[in-house]
Structure formats: C-alpha cells, structure tokens
Symmetry: C2
C-alpha cells in the first residue's frame, strides 16, 4: 500500500513523525506537531540551554547530576539523555567519572572555529551561484541589523550577524555544513558571553557585511570572498583579545 510504503520511507529517512492517510486519490502527509514529539529529555535539554544562555549556568561550572535532575524535575537517567544532546552541541563537556560542566570556550577552540569559517565561508562565497536563495537571506539579515542598530539593540544585531553568516554557509548547499555552523555558533555564543561589551564585538561589522553582500550581489565573488576573509581575521582578533581580557581579569 502506498501509504504504508510512504510511512516506511519517511520514517527511515527522517526522524520526524508523520501522519499519512488517503484523501480521495491523494496521499496527505502531515508533519507531527513539535509538541507531540517532545520528550522529557529534550525538554530538559532546552531548559539547560536556556539557563546557559541566561548566564545562570556559567562556562566551566560543574553541573552535578542529582541536583540538576531534581531542579528540572526529571530522573537522573533522563538528565543524562539530555546531556547527550547538549554534549553534541558542544554546550556541555562530560568528563568520565568527573561529571559534566558547561563548556569553556578556550583559545584553541576559537582559533579552530575561525579557521574553519575562513575555509568554508570564503570558499562558499567564491563558488556561490548567482541569485542563490541564501543571498536574499543575507540581505534580510543586513537590513535587520541596520534596523536594530537604530535602536542600539545589540542582542538583535548579534543575532542578525549570526544569521548573515548562516546564510553564507548555506551558499554551499550542504546540510552537514549547516549543522556544523549551528554547532560552532553555539560555542561562539559562549565566548561572546564572556565579553561584556557587545557593541565592541559587533559594531565594526555592519558595514563590512553590507560591503560583502553588495560585492556578491554584483557577481564579484572573488572580491566578496577576499573582503569576507579580512572580516573573519578581524573578527577573530577582536574576539581573542576580548576573551583574553575577560579571562585574565576574571
């Protein structure tokens, strides 16, 4: 039966829940609602993620299982399942027999992240297809950042900046690289969080993003790539310097 085959195909190739049924001569497929597929472990992971983002759990902070499990209202086994997702994202570091702690961004990690970004982002821009849909997303991110700048809303500027670079990764048309970007921004956010001057971090780059975008829109991919390379080298330098000041004075 087509419905059964479709269910099997979809369940094998994705992790999502689907409802498939015949409606006349059409197979109607509905994606299961997000709420219906949530597990307690994933909810716990989300809550931990939020606590990290809010600074309630600080980089390097030990998170004892029993205490945290009780605080979240789940069992310790379930918390370990949650740690699994967070560990994959790089937000949590688990050391055998010593427990879990919030990841500390370290200098090697930051350097590595920027090295990867230069390789991937610059090459993605060099090889970008004209009128690739991601270019429009870059444009929207630039406009969002400019609007947020008018309000001195640095949190929104930071988010728009991350979206801009996500779109650059998406130029490469690779799900795997997109997942990588998601992970490395999780880790970068930890580093950003250590620096208490977001304007210093993000302000120098609005005009640069716009210049890169305009070169790209004009089809000058090599020039856009070179400008992006300069951008990333500068961003790395600023983050490393800020990180060093934050961890030295702290």
């Amino acid at each position: 039966m087509i419905v059964e085959q479709l269910k099997l195909f979809l369940s094998t190739n994705t992790g999502a829940c689907y409802t498939a049924l015949m409606v006349g001569s059409t197979v109607k497929v509905e994606v299961g609602s997000e709420a219906g597929t949530r597990s307690r472990a994933l909810d716990a992971a989300s809550e931990i993620r939020s606590r990290i983002a809010r600074g309630e759990l600080a980089p390097g902070e030990r998170v004892p299982e029993a205490k945290l499990a009780e605080s979240l209202g789940v069992s310790r086994n379930t918390l370990r399942e949650a740690f699994r997702a967070l560990s994959e994202e790089g937000l949590i570091t688990q050391i055998p027999n010593r427990g879990a702690c919030v990841a500390i961004p370290n200098i090697n990690t930051i350097i590595d992240i920027y090295r990867v970004r230069r390789l991937v982002e610059c090459q993605a821009v060099t090889e970008a297809m004209p009128r690739h849909p991601a270019i429009a997303r870059m444009r929207r991110a630039v406009e969002a950042a400019l609007e947020a700048q008018d309000h001195d809303d640095w949190s929104r500027i930071a988010t728009a900046n991350i979206e801009f670079h996500r779109a650059i990764f998406e130029l490469a048309d690779s799900a795997r690289l997109n997942r990588m970007y998601a992970q490395l921004t999780s880790e970068l956010r930890l580093a950003f969080g250590l620096i208490d001057d977001p304007a210093y971090l993000h302000a120098p780059f609005l005009e640069r993003n716009e210049a890169i975008l305009e070169l790209l829109e004009a089809g000058s991919t090599e020039k856009a790539s070179a400008a992006l390379r300069d951008y990333l080298l500068l961003a790395e330098r600023i983050l490393l310097a800020g990180y060093e000041r934050a961890t030295t004075e702290g």
Copy 2:
C-alpha cells in the same frame, strides 16, 4: 599549587585522565592508560561498531534495546549510552518511540558528503603549506596502497585510501574538520559495504592519488586541487551508481 592548577587546566581542556605529581622540582604528568578509562558503555559501542563492520548488523536493521543489551551483557540504560556515541558517529539512527536502527546511507547523504569533501579537501590542498607534515602521511598512504595492490588486498587499499584523504583534511590544521572527516568516513563505510565489488570502488584511484600527491609535492597546489576535484567527482559518480545498483537489486 602548580600541581593542582595543572590538573585543573588539563581536566578542563581535555577529557583525558592525568596523574600529576611533583618529582623534585619537576611536575611529572602521566596520561591515564586507555584501559583504565574505558567504560562499559564505550565497550558496548565498540562491539556494536564491530558488528556493523562485520555485517552482522545490516544497514536499516532494527536493533531492539532489550535483546541487544542482553546480547552484550549490559543493562538497557548502558546500551542507550552506547547508542549515544554511535548516533554521534552516524552509525546508528534513533527515531523517537521507534527505536534504533543501523543507519542507511542514502543518496542525499552521499551527495552531501562529496559536496563537503570537494569544498574542504580542494581548498585545503589549494592553501596547503609547503612541507606540511600531512603531505608525508599522504605519501605513506600511497605507498601502503601500492603495496596492498600487489597482494590484491582490497581492504587494505580501501583503508590506505581513506588515510590518504584524512591527511588531506589534516592539511587544513583544524581539529573540527578532522573530526568531521572521521564521521563522514564512518558513514561512507556503510555505503561502501553495500557494494560487493571493492576493486571496482577503489582500483581506479591509486594512480590518481599518486598524481595528486606529486603535484602537491612539487608545489603546484592549484593543479593538485583541480586533479582532486576531478577525482572526487568521479568517486562520487562511481559510488552513487554502485549504490543504486545495490539498492535496486537487493
């Protein structure tokens, strides 16, 4: 105390176990033995990995927890911990409420892997530093493959080929990209396993690897990169064609 600070530094930045102690005026650091840090969950993961590699667990095969846990002599919770590592490697797919199965390499995954490889490997070669240590590793892999060819030992040829490309990733000097390579080769091995003619898969590439290497050793990085690109496009085509035959006839 320097010993305590060193322990803290090491434990925060790596997952390894260290013993640090003062010996005279020198701090002596010993890395904990591998055997001492093994956990039951990691042992279970290794055994599952081996079973997959030996074909005892086939792509797409459901692996019910209770049965497998009993077969491995661990509890179900421990098995779920093992699944965690394997899921991160892409060897296992876990679907909520449906259980775990051995990952099925699918066409989209293979295409994505080769897209990523072209972006990363070709750029790594283009920007390779002269006399980078990874170039020597490429040379050793080529020699190992040629020797294995004399014995028609296709398993060793496949391994040497994977080592050759690992070394190319290492040209980029990024731990993150090296980890990515480890994961994508795990997934590629699943696809290779579906094709029952290893000679067909690997034989065409020995001479190409050697040509790429010689261009690189001669400092012609752009030519090496172009040759690598051709290689990867051909390898993708051969794998996709073989995969399609295997999954159509199967």
